[in-house]
Symmetry: C2
Subunit: 804 residues, 2 copies
């Protein structure tokens, strides 16, 4: 919202509100029509069973509140020429937001077959929750939506993500009182301490208290209003309340016109207050370079669940109760009384006043919608690809680590990446953000703080470092909020990166699910323009939780991610700094994916020069000739590895083998792009069988050292010819607070055990080299004893070349 | 806490607080010792490098606050003979709670080698974060803990879970201001609306505002105090504030004695207020059968991070900043100045006053601890197995569905389970609870409301159904809160069940991880007595999201669960009501597991009589002879199935095959216990290879219809001889709001496709029966067309026997 936007001084006239009410009735009529009608969309004939859908699906309860707010926002959008985005927390109310998009003309623009006439109306009704049609919720298919109405909890974090770096945008965010009970939503209230009142946009939270969930009252509707307001004030807001539409003791509902009047004047106050806050902040920022944190207004909208719907059904109260949640009249095909009540309900909106003979919204109501991109259903912010600019990326090869020979270093891999990210931030000052749960420094990306700070608009202290009111890093100790912010930021056409401890990214498993499903659905929606991928950098990983131990060890996010559509998901395990740079440069250029990149933060050996790294990452996996000794011949054994720590152990195992068994022909294969292991018919990155067989052979033992749970490698390779010979070591839930080498030993991933595995698997070695095998067993014991006695690793295991 | 507990009237005398301060100093000394010392535990000689651990691990910052609160709670526990449990939200402060357990003597009772003398002290210090020792956090190894100090967010929900049905228990719950930023914690504040002030215990939240996380200030420490208090009041609390210990502008810290005095008098007020609230509630409840919701007291404890530690290191402020988070002096082996500062720090606690010549805590301080089970480190509530009583379970066979022949019904499977659960609730009125995110009725378990209500202590309304102030079902729209409550309830020795939509259980993936890791660690801790398993009933599953579509479809929780230790995790897919009853009866009797049970809520065909169901569930999988036609002969094809919908499709496919290809020898295998598929060396429930081969053959095609992601079956069976012939159908992320049969068709799991799979896989059939194959293709098209036209399934697919 522009700080200089004009605003109307007088409260809206009665005439305005009559028209607004008619527009609202039209939206509600269309919503009910979508839930119930197959035919007879304008009720030009009496309702008969054949007009009614066989399966009644959808959620009525929240719908009238959503359309009510939409209608009122339209009034101020038109008057003040606002840019607004509508985030539908109660996404179940799909019929409502589909209806408003249709009334604004956007639906017909997006879907030509849903015409602006009676036939289009019938198609609109029929397609809703109908096989081959559209889902029942606000969804990617819904114009104006950035928010799937499935899992609850993310409306407010999405809204704040959308508002970052969009100073002219007003994001109205409806929060259902059901959603308000979720943890992620409850944690999102604090987001207002991160929003800058000059550089970022405005979020207007609307807590829609309709009192009920599926089967139960809501908590916030059942505490005294002063306690509720105190809580909202404690979240840093100035809450306004609009309440109305309830029935009196005779069952007589309050005239909606009275509620419209209260809503309109309250919204005028709120819009004025937002303009004042922004103007004051601008003035202060220009003068002092800082701002006082505003107490942003918010709205509590208390209306009956299923408002304007059937008040009673079969003698039971419906309006204003949980019974209005889904379909209030459920037997309208077979039960004549239900059908009559449905017809009466539909006619109560007076469709003949709203639609002309052709079935088109009458001109007086058409005139109420904003124009073009000002329509909330058509705003490009809700189709972020329309606004997406390419990132300006510094040449990552300029940040290369010098690798005079394989195994040089040690170098901190993520620290190197941090220098590149620092310059990404510098080159993209208004459309790239990094999110993290207070871990950017812990994850060794601290170079970014040479270019920027953590953005925080709460109080500051002299001891703060790397924190200021303006910054490109947004950190809060909530993975949910980080994920929601980033999703909102990406969905509105910007770029970002989420860095996180590997184990705790599981906190957002379910949020990832919803985002991946959103991206998947968008593949079939031509008007949805591609958005930047959601890229995770997972570090502080399973093998190096030196401080924290067992509770911080879980490498299973990749397993979870790979359950989603192959067209959407990517996973990379770069083994060193140059491969990490190359991988991340690629990921930040991609669209419509979820990229998972796992890389350690502890200094480690470096394997590839930048040229080699680029070639290796382009292939996604490859034979490391310098570590192999089989040349072009078929090897006796293949050692595979993926991930930095397993790569170190595999290379060290090769070093041991080449010293002790120089005649053994070994091939070392490193995998960066884990999806290369899968069949090309299963994943677009998959290798063909001949390619795979050329690398892993069809009949030689493969000892594979993997970063995560070992069965993932089997899941990816079970169709390969050589699968029966693939033997995987990885994390098997053995861990505690101990040394790095003890960790790999606990899980049998250590170099000695890999050598034992080779001896056990290559025919003939076990008998011939029993002594060497025993030596490896003894080496493990020696290392364990050293660690138990001195509390640190034996010094020789820090290296990858075994002393000759 | 007993409502009749006596309480001291006068504020504590100065002498008391001097001793309390000494006890606190002893705890802090032991904490610092654990982080740093290998030797010289009593500083009887000057500190030299060899006394210091080579790897300095642990978190000092939160520790002095934890020990401070513990010391003060001990004072009122002793005085008022309270039963108290301490939940350490900032579990990083492991050294603190290990120290208090040692000072109370519990540590030595639990671990005989950690003796009560100088040698024991040295062992105590050495083992901390040391290979072969104990983890750095509060953990299962820590006496008195029910809460792993790893992932943050669950302290308060655990505390409420512990308090349910424990009217005499006071649960003090420390919430770090970092943890307070997480979504799950933020959502937990509302839990006080669910706690009954007569039947349940008391939770005393202590918000420990030390201002910093790892690298950053905390949000709640950077808002004005009146805003914070308003928020806490808005959460329904009466907050008390104790602030102190901060340095003045000269770096001079406030005398801790002054802080002790404020803390002691405030805690007296709080304890008195709790007693008053409980007494008043009891009186009101006895008189009116209802209570007014109390405004429970809580404490805001604002002290410096790393209080009493090094104030500055190398010229940089440490105490009171994020630099105190982990190890404030990091180079104490090599840097003489650091080591001198460490020695000075340790000596500042005046160890010679605290420990006698033997290294034993001096008698005056020993006397301050409560006795026996009153010690928070020794309370049986923190070792719930000590309190666990077996559930009284009604004979589940009495609830059997009559199954005159396979395929009878349809019957709603979870509705039948509901009748049994209703009686489980009746027979266990004080130690069994059901948790759900507002879904118990939606999941068709509504029979339980014949026996009980949803417990809610907020406002009530005339329209409420199944809600009252006392009830055994606790519902809130937060999976996190449900999971946290149940974990807290189980860990303190009770029983429960979590029912949830299948897709959204991913919300608690990470909480499950932590609980499973807790259970795994407990296997190695002899004094930890077994607790009841955590059992999930996942319903409203992927195949029947008729209302909600794609966003509600994710059967991957089993995949996630199976990454944890096989000794801990179990997964069951009962295909009908009798098998669900048998499965659930088994699960509720088990200990120390996580049981995942997946079963649909929609009416479906019933396959097994109760006798057959018991036998089938006991085996975990089995051949269904009535559906097979191969007798004792080797079949031409095996149809496997797991899950209710896949079982229906597999049986219908067999019906089609037997009609059209009567000569084909078919074996139908149903799997309830999915872990039976795995190798017996991998999972305790796994079949041996000969057993598996006896059922699935070594060389015949197996067409497996699975409930979830198909690759899970490959992951479980890749070592089986016949693996290359196993062909799995399952959910492959195809879905929308559509009909049930359209859903299985979208994912190629339908009966027609299974028949096509059989034709394609059994040698010779494809050529010979090309016409039949085409017929199946046409049948699919016919069904799809019907659905697209009429919005419902073709009527014939509702049945499992194909019309002859």
């Amino acid at each position: 919202m522009s700080t200089t936007a004009p605003r109307g001084a007088a409260p809206p006239s009665g005439t305005d509100l009559r028209a607004l009410d008619a527009w609202w009735r039209a939206a509600n009529y269309l919503a009910v029509g979508q839930i119930y009608l197959m035919d007879n969309p304008l009720l030009r004939e009496p309702l008969v069973p054949a007009h009614i859908k066989p399966r009644l699906l959808g959620h009525w309860g929240t719908t009238p509140g959503l359309t009510f707010l939409w209608a009122h926002l339209n009034r101020v959008i038109v008057r003040d020429d606002l840019d607004a985005l509508y985030v539908t927390g109660p996404g179940h109310g799909g019929p409502g937001v589909v209806a408003t998009a249709y009334l604004e003309g956007t639906y017909t623009e997006r879907y030509a077959h849903i015409t602006d006439d009676a036939e289009g109306l019938q198609a609109l009704f029929r397609q809703f929750s109908f096989p081959g049609g559209i889902p029942s919720h606000a969804a990617p298919e819904t114009p104006g939506s950035i928010h799937e109405g499935g899992e609850l909890g993310y409306a407010l974090s999405h809204a704040y993500g959308a508002a970052f770096d969009n100073p002219d945008l007003l994001v109205a965010c409806v929060i259902g009182d059901g959603e308000a009970e979720t943890g992620p939503l409850a944690g999102s209230w604090q987001a207002n301490k991160f929003l800058h009142p000059v550089n970022d946009g405005t979020v207007l939270p609307v807590l829609h208290l309709n009192g009920y969930k599926i089967a139960n009252s809501t908590v916030l509707a059942r505490i005294p209003q002063d306690e509720l307001l105190r809580q909202l004030e404690g979240h840093g807001h100035r809450p306004y309340v609009v309440e109305g539409g309830f029935a009196d003791e005779n069952g007589q509902s309050e005239d909606p016109m009275a509620v419209h009047e209260r809503m309109a004047s309250t919204l005028d106050e709120i819009v004025a207050e937002i303009a004042r806050i922004r103007a004051d902040a601008k003035e202060q920022f220009d003068a002092e370079g800082r701002v006082d944190r505003p107490r942003w207004p918010m709205l509590v909208l208390r209306t009956p669940k299923g408002w304007t719907g059937p008040h009673e059904v079969d003698g039971k109260l419906v309006e204003g109760t949980w019974r209005a949640h889904q379909v209030p009249l459920s037997e309208t095909r077979d039960n004549d009384a239900h059908r009559a009540q449905l017809e009466q309900w539909l006619r109560s909106y007076r469709p003949d006043e709203l639609f002309d003979g052709e079935g088109r919204l009458v001109p007086a109501l058409r005139a109420l919608s904003p124009r073009g991109a000002k329509r909330m259903s058509a705003t490009p912010h809700a189709n972020g690809g329309e606004l997406l600019r390419d990132l300006r990326l510094p040449d990552f090869t300029d940040y290369a680590v010098d690798v005079p020979e394989p195994g040089s270093g040690p170098v901190g891999t993520t620290a190197v990446l941090g220098t590149w990210l620092r310059d990404v931030i510098r080159m993209n000052p208004d459309n790239f953000r990094m999110m993290a749960p207070d871990e950017t420094a812990s994850n060794r990306l601290q170079a970014v703080f040479e270019a920027t700070d953590r953005q925080f608009v709460g109080e500051s202290a002299a001891t703060d470092e790397g924190v200021s009111q303006v910054g490109r890093v947004t950190e809060v100790l909530s993975e949910h909020l980080c994920q929601g912010w980033l999703e909102g930021y990406l969905l509105t056409g910007r770029h970002g990166l989420f860095n996180c401890y590997e184990a705790f990214i599981h906190l957002v498993d379910s949020m990832f699910n919803q985002h991946a499903k959103w991206l998947d659905a968008c593949r079939d929606i031509p008007w949805r323009r591609p958005i930047a991928s959601l890229t995770y950098l997972l570090t502080s990983h399973v093998w190096r939780q030196d401080h924290n131990g067992f509770s911080h060890q879980d490498p299973g996010f990749i397993d979870h991610v790979l359950n989603k559509k192959p067209q959407i998901v990517r996973a990379y395990l770069p083994p060193d700094a140059n491969t990490l740079l190359s991988t991340m440069d690629h990921c930040l250029r991609t669209r419509n994916y979820v990229n998972v990149v796992v890389a350690g933060k502890q200094p480690g050996p470096q394997w590839l020069t930048m040229d080699e790294a680029v070639a290796h990452c382009t292939r996604g996996l490859g034979i490391w000739d310098w570590a192999s000794n089989c040349g072009n011949e078929e090897p006796d054994v293949v050692l595979g590895c993926a991930g930095d720590v397993p790569t170190l152990e595999a290379v060290a195992a090769v070093s041991l083998l080449r010293r002790h068994l120089p005649e053994l022909k070994i091939r070392l294969v490193n995998v960066v792009d884990i999806m290369r292991l899968q069949d090309e018919r299963e994943h677009p990155h998959g290798l063909s069988h001949p390619e795979f067989d050329g690398i892993f052979t069809t009949d030689r033992p493969v000892i594979f050292a993997y970063h995560g749970y070992p069965w993932l490698i089997h899941r990816l390779t079970y169709r390969r010819a050589n699968h029966a010979n693939i033997h995987v070591r990885g994390y098997k839930e053995e861990g505690t607070t101990t040394t790095p080498f003890d960790m790999v030993m606990l899980n049998d991933l250590d170099r000695f055990h890999l050598v034992i595995d080779v001896i056990d698997r290559v025919p003939g070695l076990a008998v011939k080299h029993a002594e060497l095998r025993q030596f490896m067993v003894d080496e493990r014991l020696r290392c364990r004893r050293h660690t138990r006695q001195y509390g640190e690793d034996a010094p020789d295991v820090a290296d990858w070349v075994w002393p000759g």
